[in-house]
Amino acid sequence: MLGTGILKGMVETAKNFAGSYHDPERLTTVEYPEQRIAPKENARQFPMLIHDTEDPMKGLRCVACQICEKECPPQCIYIVKSKDKRADYKGQMQFYPATFDIDISVCMSCQICVEVCPFESIKMDTEFELSNTDRFGGLLIHKEQLAKSNEHYRKIHPADAAASDAVLAAEVAKAQAKAKADAEAKAAKAAAEAKAKADAAVAGPVPAPATSTAPQPTSPPAAPAA
């Protein structure tokens, strides 16, 4: 009979209409901004720079290697390397970014900077309410605004942050082990040299100058509290 299809369809819409009053599953929207859906663990919006210390500018993990700047598909990262070096989390002397800008009006949130970063220093934030009345300066984010603490990273991406912390802890342990091994090798070498010299002084006709004491083994650099 002509019209049955339409009637069947209307029954379907009526079911949906009535259902939305008593079945919470049917209510598929939320009243943003009063209600919010928690972001997903993997969610990504714009990049941020992770720092480990109280002072964000002193503890940035970034060493200004400029790999992300090169790999960024829309070329929205601008980095100026510092002239001097400072100790990083392992105690190794590294450059740091004198300028680190991201133009988030160009950034397309692709996360490639995060993937290519070898220093676990750039990660994705989940902040998305970044509207601004200044369309040029306001959307160019400097390192002061980009710096976020590792606690913040742990809060928004717990699993990723744990993995990243493990990588860093392994790096620190490796650096410490290497420093210790180096120091021991150095001490052993110095002792051997001193002994050789002393032997030579005893045996040889030319009096050797008085050997100085073996250099003190350098203590391994202290790791920051992770």
Partner: protein, 383 residues
């Protein structure tokens, strides 16, 4: 079989009535053109005697940008081709680079690719049905139902890839990250409930007399013309040609799962709608066992590297059956970090070329419906 000719009849194209014809530019800001697309139509009363599709308003220089950047950096740009189906775009590009560089995809990554591609197909066809009905004047209801279901799939995709539409998920030789905990169960739930939604959607639409009146016999496309024009995807199958790259190429692990290919007989808008509806049910048949079988293991080839990727000189064409048709990437490598040539074969653009043949002799309202049934995304047409 001789070479088919496609002569148009003089009365159809308005020969001899030049003075009475009216030329109208529909678009680029027309709500029914699915983006910035223009149809220059010549009308005899309300009958179309000539139609010229004009596009390029959304041209972003995708191919040239890709030739001046590294292989990896093009991956997020492929998301923006057909922004409804970024995961299948990723797959097509990854497939061609893998052919070029000879990378092996681990088993688990193949499963993830198959699952995400079929979820994308569900998502695309559901939305298309909604948009098609919107074009016919069913304002709201079907589209909102479609979007309600799309939301569930988007949630899955977001929890996997971190983004709802611009996924940037696949990598050369695998996928970017492993499935998050609990993802497979969530996907199983969505897939199990999807057939219920399809039943509901079909009760609402497929038997609806208004829909039938508006779509049956409208925008007919013959199998000969479809094959000659290189039309692929659900549009070609609605014309009755059994051609699906999932069967023809059997790329990925499609050979392991039995599924059928729905075919139309008339090649009209209704057939195109029904083919997509049935394809979604077949997708569910692939998804259900695939979600059960997914093995543990790595998700990326250990030989693949992110930085300093330089495939040896050569060329490769990788193609997949995207939700809209054959999506292919043709790459030539000269051994440098950038591709020497990068070419996209976009299904939307090639399917659009037969629009005039589908619309001649019909009314303006029918042209809108025919355009809706082609399933174009202007991001892919213009690139």
């Amino acid at each position: 079989m001789g070479k088919p000719t496609f002569q148009r009849k003089a009365e159809v194209i308005g020969v001899g009535r030049e003075g009475e014809l009216l030329e109208v530019a529909m678009g680029p800001q027309h709500p029914s053109t699915h983006g910035v697309f223009r149809m220059d139509v010549v009308l005899d009363g309300e009958t179309i005697v000539k139609l010229k599709p004009v596009f390029g308003y959304l041209h972003r220089n995708h191919e040239k940008i890709a030739e001046n950047t590294s292989y990896l950096a093009s991956m997020p740009y492929t998301d923006r081709l057909d922004y409804f189906c970024s995961l299948t775009n990723n797959w097509a590009y990854a497939l061609s680079v893998e052919k070029l560089a000879g990378l092996q995809v681990p088993e688990r990554a193949e499963y993830i690719r198959l699952i995400t591609a079929e979820l994308t197909r569900l998502l695309n066809h559901t939305c298309l049905a909604g948009f098609l009905l919107q074009d016919m004047g069913a304002l709201g209801t079907p589209l909102m139902y479609a979007f309600r279901e799309r939301e569930k799939i988007l949630d899955l995709i977001e929890s996997l890839t971190g983004a709802r539409m611009m996924c940037n998920y696949m990598r050369f030789g695998g996928c970017r990250c492993d499935l998050p905990p609990g993802w497979v169960d969530a996907a199983k739930k969505v897939v199990a409930e999807y057939s219920k939604f399809l039943d509901e959607f079909e009760t609402l639409l497929s038997g609806n007399e208004i829909l039938m009146a508006r779509t049956q016999g409208v925008g007919k496309l013959s199998a000969e013309l479809a094959v000659s024009a290189g039309v692929t995807g659900p549009m070609l199958r609605a014309s009755g040609v059994d051609y699906d790259l999932r069967k023809v190429d059997a790329y990925g692990i499609y050979a392991r799962y039995p599924f059928r290919i729905p075919l139309g007989t008339h090649g009209d808008v209704y057939d195109r709608y029904m083919v997509r509806m049935l394809e979604m049910r077949e997708s569910l048949k692939i998804l259900e066992p695939a979600l059960k079988d997914i093995p543990e293991g790595p998700v990326v080839d250990p030989k693949a590297k992110l930085r300093g990727f330089r495939p040896k000189p050569g060329e490769a064409y990788g193609r997949i059956e995207g939700p809209k048709g054959e999506l292919g990437f043709y790459l030539i490598s000269d051994g440098s970090p950038n591709p020497y040539r990068y070419r996209v074969r976009p299904p939307s653009l090639i399917n659009l070329t037969v629009l005039e043949d589908m619309c001649l002799g019909q009314t303006v309202a029918d042209a809108i419906v025919s355009l809706g049934s082609v399933d174009i995304v202007l991001g892919e047409v213009d690139r």
